[in-house]
Structures are given as C-alpha cells and as structure tokens.
C-alpha cells in the first residue's frame, strides 16, 4: 500500500477524534463558566478567555438557586445496579437453558424464543409503557424504586439473554458434558463449569445492561412523579426558558462518571483474546 491512503486514514481518524472529543471539551469548559461567559463569544481557554467559576458545580450539589442531583444520582445508581444484577442472573439462566436444551412452545423453537425476547426491544417504548403503568399501579408500585427496578429488569432482560445465548453457544458443549460426567447436575454444571468460565460474556452483558439502565429516561419519566427521580429526569428538569448551559454541562459530566468508571473496569475483559475461546 502506498503512503497516501495510510495518511488519509490518519487524517480521517484525527477528524473523527476531534469530532467525538469536542462535545466533551465543550461541556468541560462550559461547566466552569457563568452566564456572562456563556453568552459571549465561543471561548475555550480558562483564565485567558474567561474567568472559571465553580458556580455550576455548586448548584448541582444543592447550592443556592440550584437542584441537588445527588439524590437522583443515588436513585439511578440503585436502580441500575439492582436491575442489571437481576437481569444478568435471570438472563444467564435463561440463556443457558436456551443454549443447551431444546424447547418447544407450540410451533416456536429455541431460535424463535430468543427472537421473542429480543423483539421486546424492537417494540417502541410508548407501546410498552402503558401496560407497565397499569401493572405497577395495581400493587401500588408507581413512583417507587422497586417499581422502576422491576420495569428496568424487564427492559434489560432481552439484552442480557441475547448476549448470553450467543456467548454460551460458543462455549463447547463438552465443557458441560464433562462436568456432568464428573458428577454434576445440569445446574451444578452451569454454576461450577460454565459460570467461572464466562466472565467475559457476563461482563459484556452487564455492561450493556448498565448503559441501557443508566440512560433510561422515558420509562422513569412516565412511571415516577414526585417521590423517585432518576438522574436523566433531574437533568432534564434543570431546563428552563433560558437553558442553563453551565449547570447542564456539569450535570452531564456528573452523569457519565459511573459509565467512565465502568468502562475502565471492564476494558480488559473486552479485548478480543478474552472474548474468543474463553474456555479452550
């Protein structure tokens, strides 16, 4: 290959990198600005171009004239962690069954059942939210964390099942067969032979669940009112007739911290070598 295509590739990558990094830069600088600095020209360099202030950050942590985001943050954290954990446990069990045993529900076979799971996510959320509303209303779970956890589990389960079925399908059957030969029940084979060797798959599924759960706005918005507020709701609620860009930026940055931490934690599991051939 001559050098030009290679240089063109680099150029493209640089452009792309700037394109993706810019919103972050913009948010970071904006979160340290005040009204005046935002309304003037576009500026980036603190101290030289504008005077940095911590006002926006003070406001999102309950400072005067602001909204405390810590409560919603904790709500989001609890809901996401609980719902992801439940979805992973249930999802892994369901996926293992679907990967290893043959089921028939009427004319539906394993493949159709997996598709049925995934199809839950294809449906527009508006269609799902109405039945959810009534389901939660009856036992009085509207506007509670538990209610939102249950709904989030229902939303995350398809993702978990889908990721894990694929993962288990790629684990050779001989692994469980060997465990059964060595004296395990199917459940023990799953727990002792499959789970310990599925860290990469479980991690990927957990990460998907966490990201989807964390970012959910629509269902939280429709199914809670005053008692429970999640972070995305609270951030949207910051809006007023004049968008307070500085607090919005600070809130956005605050909101991505857990995902950043997660990304750093799981990064090593996501390398190719770990995903392929987890067992052999």
């Amino acid at each position: 290959m001559s050098r030009w295509p290679r240089r063109a590739q680099y150029l493209l990558l640089i452009v792309w990198a700037v394109f993706t990094a810019m919103p972050f830069l913009w948010a970071i600088t904006t979160s340290f600005k005040d009204v005046n600095a935002v309304q003037g020209h576009v500026t980036y360099v603190p101290w030289l171009e504008f005077e940095p202030t911590l006002e926006a950050w003070r406001q999102i942590f309950g400072g005067a004239g602001g909204v405390n985001l810590v409560g919603p943050f904790v709500n989001s954290l609890i809901i996401t962690v609980c719902a992801s954990a439940i979805a992973i446990v249930l999802g892994a069990l369901a996926a293992y069954g679907l990967s290893r045993f043959r089921y028939r529900i009427g004319p539906a076979k394993n493949k159709d059942i997996v598709f049925f799971f995934v199809s839950q996510r294809i449906m527009p959320p508006v269609v799902l939210v109405i039945p959810f509303f009534f389901l939660l209303q009856m036992p009085g779970l509207l506007d509670t964390r538990l209610g939102l956890i249950i709904v989030t589990v229902a939303l995350l389960l398809p993702i978990a099942v889908w990721v894990m079925v694929d993962f288990f399908d790629n684990i050779p059957r001989e692994i469980d067969e060997m465990a059964m030969l060595e004296g395990c029940t199917p459940m023990q084979a799953f727990l002792r032979a499959i789970v310990p060797n599925s860290a990469p798959g479980l991690t990927v599924a957990a990460m998907f669940c966490a990201v989807f759960g964390w970012n959910d706005f629509f269902f939280a918005f429709r199914l809670t009112f005053t008692q429970v507020q999640t972070l995305p709701q609270a951030v949207v609620a910051l809006n007023s007739s004049i968008p307070p860009w500085w607090t919005l930026s600070a809130a956005a940055l605050f909101g991505i911290i857990p995902l950043l931490v997660l990304a750093v934690l799981v990064e090593r599991y996501l390398s190719k070598g770990n995903l392929a051939g987890a067992v052999r």
């Binding site: 001989e174 032979a193 052999r280």
Partner: protein, 368 residues
C-alpha cells in the same frame, strides 16, 4: 469396572426418520469388564453417538443399556460413574492444572488426602507433576489435552473410560508414548476402556478387541488378527489394513474364481451356484511378485499376470500397483525385495489359503 451391554439400542436424532437413516441402527453389544476396546469407522458412522449413549449424554431412542446387569437407560450421566475424554481439550482455563485434575474428584466428594494422592499419581504418570500450579490457560494445546486425559483417568473407581479420538490434536511424535501412558494408567485399575479412533494402527496397538462400525451399524468385532485375516465383509477388508485388502471381481467356476483368463483358487468354495458372482479378497501383504528367474508357484498358489503401473515407497516397505485386466491389485513387499521396472509385466503368486471368497460384499461361509 463394569460389563456394559446394549440391548437392541438404536438412536435417531430426528423422530420419525426412516430407520435406514438412523444415526445408530438397532445394536446388540456386550463389552466385558476390564477389557480394552477400540471403536473404528468412517466419519459420521455413529461412534460418538454410541459413546454418548453409554455415558448417558444421549438417551437412546430405542433399547436398553445395562451396567453389570442393572438397567441404566434412564440414569442421568452424573450417576453412571463414567469418565470420558473428548477429541479437544476440555479444561477450565480459570483454574490451575492441579485444580483441573482435582475437579472430577471434588465433584464426587472425595476426601482431601485421597484427592491429593491421586492427582499426584496421575500428574506424574503424564509428566505434568512439575507444573501443577500453573494456570491451565498458559499451556500449549498438547499439554491441555494431556490434562483432559488426566481428568479422564484420575478417578480409579469408574465403570468405564470412554475416549473419543483423544490423541487427534497431539503431535504424532508424542502419540506413541502417550498411548503407553494411557495403557499404564488404565491397567492400574483395569476399567472397561472404549477408545474411538480414526487411526487403525492406533486401534490395533492399543486395544484387545476392535469394533468396526459403518453407517450406524456394528460390522465386525474381533482381535486385530481376526480383522486382518478374515474380514467379515469387503467393507472391513477395505477399512482395516493399509493399503486396503484387494478385491478381484469374478465368477465362480469349479470352486474357483474366474477373473479374465485366470482361475484363482479360493481358500474355500462359497455355497453359491456355478457362474454366480464372487469376489476374491486378498491382503496386499500375502501376494508375492514372482521374479522372472525365480521358481514359479506350486499348487498352493495361483499365478496371475499383470502390468506394474506404479510403486509407492513407504519407507520400510513398498506398495506396487499392478493392473490385472481392468482391475488393480496392490502388493506390499518388504524394502529388500527386488521390484521390477514400472511398466514391465510381472507374475503374481496368490496363496490359495489367503484368497477369501466374498459374495454380495460378505465373507462367504464354507460351502462343503
């Protein structure tokens, strides 16, 4: 150790399928306690299916499986007390070599001290003793398969050890010594061993008895010698032996086989009418190339004339292909035997006692 029997066992993976296409056709089989069997046959003939039925990973669609007379047909795998080694390594990457070897024993709830002792014995026999604390993920493919083997042989109380082509991924150089180690380990507690392999040489050197399968049927069982000397069908003659047995098509004439201008004497006369089709089966090892100068054959030998078309050098021996009329005959001769030039005409000596009559693909019974 147990005597395993299959009573009228058959298996189809697609219910309602035509019985002619079942993965395993109805089969009666008794495998004696403590004996070593090799199961050979072409790919897809049902070897793995048979093993899985014995271990309970597959419940046969028909028939009964018994261990020492006890019906285990619907007993789950974990209660059958069988060890199996698969073609590819089955090890847990997250564990050390020691934990991998100990896993089968821990599953059975053995006491610590006994586990330790047994793991050590197996590791030493397989030459793994030095790396017991190495994570299994760090081993080479060969070593991983060694651990798989170790896991299969670590339990000394099993009813049977089933091995499904365990040495396929192993370096050929290592195979011989590994086979010896497997023998040594299994001789200690004398389980019933069933060893599936594609490699007939491996089968013959490893097992006391061979089972030859084809298309879901057990075609013949016997010692290596029996399979070599009197294959029950042309399939076995073709499948066992290297090169395969020669088969010359002819017609029966006065108790011998007429092949073109030759009248080949048979070991015995098949019980079929004069003029019917008969195939002469003879191993390449038993045919003699009659040198121009040397003595012609006596009455115990039929002389056949043909043209030498090719010679393959196998190192310790050579295989000559000779065109007899429109049929090919392979002759295997030792290295030091003189072989004429390719293209020349040669006379072959076919010993009468080695010319077996096959009728419709099966070894004919003695007709007299």
């Amino acid at each position: 150790m147990a005597t395993l029997t299959l009573e009228n066992v058959a298996q189809t993976y697609n219910p309602g399928e035509d019985p002619d296409r079942w993965a395993l056709k109805p089969l009666e089989l008794t495998l004696e306690s403590g004996r070593t069997y090799a199961l050979v046959g072409p790919s897809g003939c049902g070897k793995t299916t048979l093993l899985n039925i014995l271990s309970g990973l597959v419940t046969p669609s028909h028939g009964r499986v018994t261990f020492d007379g006890v019906d285990v047909t619907s007993t789950p795998t974990r209660l059958r007390n069988i060890a199996q080694v698969f073609q590819f390594p089955v090890i847990y990457r997250s564990m050390t070599v020691r934990d991998n070897l100990a896993f089968p024993l821990e599953c059975r709830g053995w006491p610590r001290s006994r586990i330790e002792e047994r793991v050590r014995a197996v590791a030493e026999a397989l030459g793994l003793a030095d790396g017991l604390d190495v994570p299994a993920s760090r081993l080479s493919a060969d070593e991983k398969q060694l651990i798989s083997l170790g896991r299969g042989l670590v339990r000394d109380d099993v009813a049977a050890v089933l091995m499904d082509e365990p040495l396929t991924v192993i370096d050929p150089q290592l195979k011989l010594s590994l086979r010896r180690k497997i023998r040594q380990l299994s001789d200690e507690f004398a389980p019933t061993v069933i060893y599936v392999t594609h490699d007939q040489y491996e089968a013959m050197t490893f097992a006391q008895e061979l089972l030859v399968m084809s298309e879901g049927r057990l075609i013949q069982r016997g010692t290596p010698e029996q399979l070599f000397e009197s294959p029950s069908s042309t399939f076995v003659g073709w499948f066992v032996g290297s090169p395969s047995m020669n088969f010359l098509r002819g017609t029966l004439e006065r108790g011998a086989a007429r092949v073109g201008e030759h009248l080949i004497d048979l070991a015995w006369s098949p019980p079929v009418p004069h003029g019917s089709e008969v195939t002469v089966g003879i191993r390449p090892e038993y045919i003699r190339i009659v040198d121009g100068g040397s003595h012609p054959g006596d009455a115990s030998e039929t002389s056949v004339h043909g043209r030498l078309v090719a010679v393959q050098d196998h190192g310790e021996s050579r295989v000559c292909e000779i065109q007899v009329r429109e049929q090919q005959v392979a002759v295997k001769v030792r290295r030091e035997v003189h072989v004429p030039k390719v293209g020349s005409f040669v006379d072959l000596g076919l010993p009468r006692s080695k010319c077996l009559p096959y009728v419709e693909g099966r070894l004919a019974t003695c007709g007299d």
